[in-house]
Amino acid sequence: MSGQVLFDGVDMATLDAEGLYAARRCMGMLFQFGALFTDLSVFENVAFPLREHTDLSEAMIRDLVLMKLNAVGLRGARDLLPSQVSGGMARRVALARAIALDPDLIMYDEPFAGLDPISMSVAATLIKDLNSALGLTSIVVSHDVDETFLIADHVVFLANGRIAAQGTPAEMRASEDPLVRQFVGGLADGPVRFHYPAVPVAEDFGVGASR
């Protein structure tokens, strides 16, 4: 499948390293396990993009960091180290870090994987609220159909290296495409086969050989 990836009208494939870095300053990314800097405290982690890209005073940085931490509900955890926070909390800190520079686009890599139901709904609420409050665009990569369909505006199914289907969540639920039905319905067998390719059963178990 071919095409272009346009960000703010610019084709990403044509950018050199400098241009790529300039574009990334308007993006935030949330990695699957947070990817927090383990040698820095929660506060320092969120302050990192501010210190690197801006010349703001310490007082301003402190205010901004505490605001971002407040948005994700972790203002009280500011002095903890990443090794001292739980997985769900780490991801929320990473989210605060991703929104530190008020980006136009945030990308989430499996934000719901491995979370308990409470944290999962917290994460989903945060993603939706931040999206509307800050007026940004969010791209969520996920396997969790239910949570994602609750918050998504547009769904794109990727399978076998191509876009299999796209549309609103309601359209996806009503879709007749067998691949989409298998995924949305969580069916064990369908276009994605249950059995790994193997020789026929008769050959392996000698059924019908000595009749």
């Binding site: 870095y21 300039a22 990334r24 300053r25 993006m27 935030g28 990314m29 990695f31 699957q32 396990f33 990817a35 927090l36 800097f37 383990t38 990192f48 993009p49 690197e52 890209h53 990473a94 870090r97």
Partner: protein, 260 residues
């Protein structure tokens, strides 16, 4: 790798060359970043603390014992020729010219080199370097360069401390313990050790070793596989490659500097 398969041999030679090329590019990139790195001294100072200060204890203790042994062994051999007074000169020259830079570099590779490799490798495994790139911060500039220059600064200082402590250790064994005359201990040393020829060359050697060991440690960490096995293989490679490089460079530098 099947040595009889020409395609496999060619492929591995080619990928080996590509690795060397990539390593060279990284080295020149780090050297070129000297201005930007020293513009952010706080990062360099933090790294100097982890690399330099934390290595002081092992360097000092090793230097002391090497000095003890040199004085002892030197005395046993020299007194056979009636030149026991020259033990100070022997200890000082051995340390300042060779043992100071080389042993410090080997200890540095084992202590600071492995910790650098493991740290960078684990940062890579934990996606921290990728996160930095996504935040439009160049990991080479922010993480590698401060560590590189801190290592380059720390090495000559550590080697000097090693040599100085070794000489004091030699004095401790030679004068109070064995009973050699303190005056001739120091005067023979001062007569035979040239400041620029010996001490200066020793400092140059340790600076070159600093470049080498730190670079190898950073390269292995940066290019390792982000798995536990990958990190452990990278730390082993750091120690082995750094030690071999130091010994080979020592020969080359000695030949260049001390040939008359």
């Amino acid at each position: 790798m099947n040595w009889l398969n020409p395609a496999a041999v060619g492929l591995s030679v080619r990928s080996g060359l590509a690795d060397i090329g990539e390593g060279t590019r990284l080295f020149f990139r780090l050297v070129a970043l000297v201005g930007a790195t020293f513009g952010r001294m706080r990062l360099v100072i933090d790294q100097l603390f982890f690399i330099g200060n934390r290595s002081l204890s092992i360097i000092t203790v090793s230097g002391l014992f090497v000095g003890f042994v040199l004085a002892l062994q030197g005395y046993y051999t020299l007194q056979r020729y009636g030149s026991a007074e020259a033990v100070g000169l022997l200890v000082a020259l051995s340390l300042v010219r060779e043992l100071g830079p080389v042993v410090t570099a080997l200890l540095f590779a084992g202590r600071a080199g492995t910790s650098l490799t493991a740290e960078i490798g684990l940062m890579k495994a934990g996606e921290q370097l990728a996160a930095m790139e996504m935040m439009a911060v160049d990991p080479v500039k922010r993480v590698l360069a401060p560590r590189f220059w801190a290592g380059v600064i720390a090495m000559p200082l550590l080697a000097a401390v090693f040599s100085a402590v070794g000489i004091l250790g030699g004095w401790l064994v030679a004068v109070p313990l064995i009973g050699i005359d303190a005056g001739s201990f120091w005067s023979q040393m001062q007569g035979g050790v040239g400041v620029w020829a010996d001490v200066g060359n020793g400092v140059i050697k340790s600076a070159v070793f600093g470049f080498t060991v730190t670079f190898i440690a950073l390269l292995q960490g940066y290019g390792c596989k982000p798995t536990p096995e990958g990190v452990s293989a990278a730390t082993t490679r750091t120690v082995v490659m750094a030690s071999l490089a130091v010994l080979a460079l020592d020969f080359v530098l000695t030949a260049m500097m001390f040939s008359i």
